[in-house]
């Protein structure tokens, strides 16, 4: 276990250097001058822009900018954006929003997705199975920006049930609509994967033998079927949690949630290298952790999988 952890940590350090540089280079490669457009569609006077450019060393070559960034990072300084706002401070206020949103959406996916999948898998090829399929696919065929806007109109304007923008009503009220919207897109996958695995496990010799031994339906399904079907579902759910934590750019934007996705979007548009790298770094850690966790869980669930 310790070796496993240490190795993953060493890998993390390498991946970290690679990715931060790649992202820094990508932001550097974005076409156009971020400073001239600081004033929106009313461009800054050229000499003012030039002064600001000097403040942020934007005329230096890529490697020198990156090294300066890394050097500061080692002292725990995540840098500032072009308006002088601290990246660390901005991230600190935004992560909690994204984490709340992601976890809420994820839990909805787990409960509803696995539930629907189980239902469909146990009633394979019946009308229940087909309705689950059609329902989950139909909703996921609507682009997120349309679904979000429709949800706002129906639940916020017509029915006036839920807040549609911002976080001033706190969790869960402010997060219900966006989390549900977000969850819909993973739902189809979770349900399909669960259905497939459950159906397969139900037909396996192992489960047939359990039926033959006269075990109760609840016990067979609850323990044996679910457990043996969970590997692909878990694998997907882990990646999905990572994606959700990566910040839902469109959903956060439309529901006006001040999360990381929104920040990432704005930072890319305004070419704020340090902010983008800051967000992506945290994400890498999330994905590394999630892949390690899945390996661990899978080997616990299925003792046949070796742990190396």
């Amino acid at each position: 276990m310790l070796r496993f952890t240490l190795r993953r940590l060493a890998e993390l350090a390498l991946v970290f250097l690679g990715v931060t540089f790649a992202i820094y280079a990508a932001v550097f490669a974005l076409p156009g001058d971020p400073i001239a457009s600081l004033g929106g569609d009313r461009p800054l006077a050229p000499d003012v822009a030039e002064r600001i450019r000097a403040v942020y060393h934007l005329n230096d070559p890529l490697w020198s900018q990156y090294l300066r960034y890394l050097g500061r990072l080692l002292t725990g300084d995540l840098g500032t954006d072009f308006h002088g706002r601290s990246v660390a401070e901005r991230l600190a206020t935004r992560w909690p929003v994204t984490i709340r949103l992601a976890l809420t959406a994820w839990v909805i996916q787990v409960v509803v997705g696995v539930g629907l999948g189980l239902l469909a898998g146990l009633r394979k090829n019946t009308w229940i199975d087909r309705s689950v399929l059609v329902l989950t696919i139909l909703i996921a065929s609507v682009p997120v920006f349309v679904l979000a806007a429709t949800a706002q109109l129906v639940f916020g304007v017509r029915l006036a049930l839920l807040p549609i923008a911002g976080i001033s009503d706190g969790w869960p009220l402010s997060y219900l609509l966006p989390a549900t919207t977000l969850a819909v897109y993973g739902l189809a996958a979770v349900a399909r994967l669960t259905r497939g695995s459950v159906a397969e496990t139900m037909g396996s010799d192992h489960v047939r033998a359990l039926w033959a031994r006269g075990l109760s339906r609840r016990r067979v399904i609850g323990i044996h079927v679910l457990r043996n079907s969970s590997i692909p579902v878990l694998t997907f759910l882990a990646v999905d949690l990572g994606f959700l934590l990566g910040g839902a750019v469109v959903t956060e934007g439309i529901f006006n949630l001040p999360g990381v996705g929104q920040l990432l979007f704005q930072s890319i548009r305004s070419h704020e290298g340090p902010t983008v790298v800051g967000i992506a770094t945290a994400l890498i850690i999330v994905f590394l952790l999630s892949s390690a966790l899945v390996d661990l869980l899978n080997s616990l669930l299925d003792p046949r999988i070796r742990h190396d």
Partner: protein, 523 residues
């Protein structure tokens, strides 16, 4: 002191008792306004916090509806030669911390805004004051720290010497040119802190420092000496996507919103008489790449203007709210010669094809470019369809850039090969602002058509030098006539300011843009 503290404390304990001069039974009049994240509230630096700064501060002059200039913090702004201006302040004005507003509050602030090494975004607004260049040398640190063109006469009087005569100076001092605001002493010690918690001389004051992503509430300032506002409290709610704000106003969660382009087509249906259409200070052109051979024949440019049915485009995309442009400046700028463009700004596809044929036709593809993520896709797609169908050019596409930085680079680097987004939103109500921005080299509209003819610049300078407003207007009309003879790019639309309000709001005050503090509520 003790009493003030006590008042402040009771203020904190019972919010409603903060409202001064008000019978206890009358509820506080509070409104909320949807804004973009302001980033900074420092008047010398802000580029998107206009709404906030315009209630926290008061400028020397004030532009009302139709651009009429009245004096606000100034008692008078006078000159005989348009070069040397004398500004007298009204007495007894104070900042929110009690500090008197004096000539020094202005002179020191303007020097700070203009001081190059500060790199404050609004310094360009002061570029015509004598001594500006000394504060902004091409290389190195400036020797001076103060604008040599500013002289304090007494506590309430100072003089301004300009580099070149400018009769529009009083209009330049109006509310949206926040670089001309006064600053209290407290602004200099820690500009970053001041940017989050500014102390102004306007009708409202901060209740707590601004924090990113959080709503910000400002409160009526008792000591304000200007016209009294009709509301007690304004909350600015930040949104990243104004389409969301639109829906939030529909839901009644926010009171007032500047409607984004993408919702203009439906705002009248959604809001009925709660949709308010005001004159705007912005004009949209269709920029043309004059550096490309195919666009150098004036007949091609005229053909493009004639081939677009402005009425139909506005009707389909903006529900007819935008007005087809018939002059080179927006009508909210006094004296704008509506109709001056004449036939060339009407829809005449037959003449368009004829002109294009006379000019030798058009070869190759026409790629229209515009900044993406700005809600203008439908507009530019409509332009593309119109040009393709009415000029008979086979391949016309409308393609957005990834963002503004990319667009600016393509435009200023002359790397565009087709028509493009060109627009100027003026900050003060004078034709000078729009004409100067677009048609002079140092004007600052770097998304506009680079047609910088010295003769035009001279004509503008001639109009600038007029002290008499009517003669200045006549001068600017002459400028427009001269430009139309060159026809560098077709003016397309007089944009409008459209606001939507919740059911709580009874009326909005147009002003130049919107005078938020004069909003009235439904009883």
């Amino acid at each position: 002191m003790k009493r003030a503290l006590g008042a402040a404390l009771s203020c904190l304990l019972v919010l409603s008792s903060c409202a001064p001069n008000q019978p206890a039974d009358e509820p506080r009049k509070a409104i909320s306004y949807a804004v973009e994240e302001p980033i900074t509230l420092h008047p010398g630096r802000q580029t998107i916090a206009f709404a906030q700064d315009m209630v926290l501060f008061s400028g020397l002059t004030f532009a009302g509806k139709d651009g009429a200039i009245t004096f606000r913090n100034a008692e008078s702004v006078t000159s005989t030669d348009a070069v040397r201006w004398t500004i007298k302040l009204r007495p007894r004005w104070t900042f929110h911390n009690g500090e008197p507003v004096t000539a020094k509050s202005y002179v020191k602030a303007w020097s700070a805004v203009a001081y190059g090494p500060n790199a404050w975004e609004n310094s360009g607004q002061l570029a015509n004051i004598a001594g500006y260049d000394a504060l902004n040398p091409a290389n190195g640190k400036p020797a001076a720290t103060e604008l040599s063109g500013l002289k304090i006469v007494d506590d309430l009087t100072f003089t301004v010497t300009l580099k070149s005569p400018d009769g529009q100076f009083p209009a330049q001092l109006s509310q949206a040119q926040t670089g001309f605001y006064p600053l209290p002493e407290a602004a200099y010690a820690d500009p970053a802190a001041f940017a989050k918690n500014p102390i102004g001389n306007g009708p409202f004051r901060m209740t707590q420092p601004y924090r990113e992503t959080e709503p910000m509430t400002v409160d009526r300032y008792d000591g304000y000496q200007g016209p009294q506002p009709s509301v007690d409290e304004i909350t600015f709610k930040p949104y990243t996507d104004m389409n969301t704000a639109y829906t939030d106003v529909q839901a009644g969660a926010t009171d007032i919103l500047y409607v984004p382009n993408s919702r203009m087509g439906q705002v009248k249906k959604d809001f009925g008489d709660r949709a308010h259409v005001f004159q705007g200070l912005a004009i949209s052109y269709l920029g043309l790449p004059l550096w490309d051979k195919r666009y150098q024949d004036i007949r091609v440019r005229q053909a493009i203007s004639l081939a677009i049915d402005r009425e139909a485009v506005s009707k389909a995309i903006f529900d007819g709210i935008w007005e087809p442009a018939t002059a080179l400046t927006p009508p909210a700028q006094p004296g704008t010669p509506r109709g001056l463009c004449g036939d060339l700004c009407t829809f005449d596809p037959v003449r368009a094809r004829k002109l294009l044929a006379e000019a030798g036709g058009f070869s190759g593809t026409m790629e229209i470019r515009f900044p993406g993520g700005f809600g203008r896709d439908d507009l530019f797609n409509a332009y593309a369809n119109q040009l393709r169908q009415n000029l008979g050019i086979k391949d016309v596409t409308a393609k957005p850039t990834a963002d503004f930085p990319e667009f600016f680079e393509l435009r200023t680097g002359a790397k565009l090969s087709g028509p493009y987004f060109a627009r100027w939103g003026a900050l003060y109500a004078s034709q000078q602002n729009t004409l100067r921005a677009i048609y002079t080299r140092t004007g600052g509209c770097s998304n506009c058509v680079p047609d910088h003819d010295p003769a035009i610049a001279q004509l503008i300078a001639k109009a600038d030098a007029q002290v008499d407003p009517q003669r200045a207007i006549a001068g600017y009309v002459d400028v427009q006539k001269a430009i139309l003879k060159r026809f560098p790019a077709p003016p397309m639309f007089f944009e409008k300011n459209v606001f939507a309000t919740s059911e709580r709001i009874a009326s909005l005050d147009e002003g130049a843009g919107l005078t938020l503090e004069n909003t009235t509520l439904v009883r």
